[in-house]
Symmetry: C2
Subunit: 109 residues, 2 copies
């Protein structure tokens, strides 16, 4: 399979709101997914942050080498395990926005 | 001056919408500010990303060693120059949210 990284970085911010009783389980499941995701060749960063004063709100900050890497991520077993584990924890649908990098330039991440 | 990093990381996401005629000038000014900010001891990351399909929308992803580092950043000359440069470029007031890190742990950033 051809797997190059000719394109630009793709940054995805996923906004998550979980049920209050699911906060700790979501943190555990998502930390595990982040750890495995960082082993993927196409993933530069996979950060999980929790909003101050709103502990049910999280952002996943995912940095992919290109759009192809983002598609491949969704085919991994760790992604699918995570997706199914957290499905019943969601208080509202996840919202995802895509970005390109202004700074640093591609080599600086 | 005492300057320790005993506390946890502080992550700040700043949502920005600029006037369409200011997109390129905002990118230049903000890249310069990001470059200088990364020289601060208390700043771990300072990323600038532009939304796909909405080129007037940006997010600044700022990772500080602690809340004190975030306060010190606002006293720097590069921050003040940036703040004054971009003030007339804003299409709407900036919105800033604060987060703590779930993953990676503090040492992994």
């Amino acid at each position: 399979m051809h797997y190059g990284f000719a394109m630009s970085l793709l940054i995805v911010h996923v906004q998550v709101c979980v049920k209050s009783e699911s906060v700790e389980a979501f943190k555990r499941a998502t930390s595990t997914n982040a750890h495995h995701s960082l082993q993927e060749r196409g993933i530069v960063r996979f950060d999980v942050v929790q909003q101050e004063g709103e502990p049910t709100r999280f952002v996943l900050v995912e940095v992919y080498r290109d759009a192809n890497a983002a598609a491949l991520h969704k085919e991994t077993s760790h992604y699918r395990v995570w997706r199914d584990l957290v499905a019943p924890m969601m208080a509202e649908p996840r919202r995802s926005l895509r970005y390109s990098n202004v700074a640093p330039e591609d080599g600086g991440w």
